[in-house]
Amino acid sequence: MQHVFIRPVMVTALAIAVSDWDRECHTMSCRVTYPPAPAAAPVLRDSIDSNFHIRASATGLITAGTFALALDRQCRVNDFDFYTNPGHWTIASLTPAEGASAVLFLEADFDENGRAKGEAEPAAIYDPEHARLCLSWGLANSWYRIAPTLALGLSADGRLMQIRLDDFLVPAKDLV
């Protein structure tokens, strides 16, 4: 994506990504859960938020066509979904995305409502043999793995170019 830049920070503990194909809604989705951060010293802000039931708002949402990527408060990938038609996907063999384990922090031009615009929705390439899905905005130069089943591909200047999901099963009847 032209306007979504990524800053990787290397880690040893990977997040967990749970992906799903919703046949009824024709939507693929993925939610990422990060390992808990080391316990920080309690701060007054957290105590006030807790006592007054103040909920932290999400940081932002990046949309590109019917694709939407939501970030958490730390600007990490929280979840994404894509309303799509697998019958239009390109079927091809995909090699595993080899990359360093990292937490990726996304930067985009968010407006007052926390919305940022990507360009067109991604092209989808699916490898049914390996149950591997690639959402692509262009060629990726480097890869970072944020979960055992989720890797992001970046361009040379750090823009988000590809999302690669492993263990993503779509029934064969949905691919025609």
């Binding site: 919703d22 009824e24 809604c25 939507t27 309303y83 038609n85 019958g87 919305r115 615009k117």
Partner: protein, 165 residues
């Protein structure tokens, strides 16, 4: 309920009240002399009706609003129109339902219905039969967006909705 159910226009001593679809609900002109009982005594419940220039308050969602006055019959008319708008049952698929439960992604159902009433209807861009995409311009905190609602019209199920630039 934290939501706008109508709009009021004030030109001099004439008050026009409109429902969400822009249809006039009531027209009132203040008399030259103050009546014994002012029909504009009623201050609307927080979130029921807003009008610029009256007293300010904040809703549960923390949105700054301004109060308005309206006659009892005008309020009843607005509520009736709003109730009529909500009569078409709308169902949600699993993913949209999750979004509706998320305060950051939630959209009031009547806003989706208004998009279906007044939006541009086109076949589903993904090519699924029986699905139609309604698009309509919208504003949120001064920013312009495009509201999208995808509807399976056979049973009024929403498999996808979004607002974006």
């Amino acid at each position: 309920m934290d939501g706008v159910i109508g709009y009021q226009e004030n030109l001099g001593a004439v008050f026009r009240t409109y429902d969400l679809a822009g249809n006039i609900v009531s027209l009132y002109e203040k008399p030259l002399e103050t009546p014994l009982f002012d029909p504009f005594d009623i201050i609307l419940i927080v979130g029921s009706f807003w009008r610029a220039g009256s007293q300010g308050f904040a809703t549960r969602l923390g949105v700054s609003g301004v109060g308005a006055s309206i006659s009892q019959s005008g309020l009843l008319g607005l509520r009736t129109r709003f109730h009529a708008l909500t009569q078409q049952q709308l169902r949600f698929g699993g993913k949209p339902l999750q979004r509706m439960k998320d305060p950051d992604r939630f959209v009031p159902v009547h806003i989706l219905r208004l998009a279906m009433l007044h939006g541009k209807r086109s076949p589903d861009p993904m090519g699924y039969a029986g699905l139609y995409l309604y698009t309509i311009p919208m504003k949120r905190i001064g920013k312009s967006y495009q509201r999208e609602v995808l509807v399976r019209e056979s049973d009024y199920t929403v498999p996808h909705f979004l607002f974006k630039h």
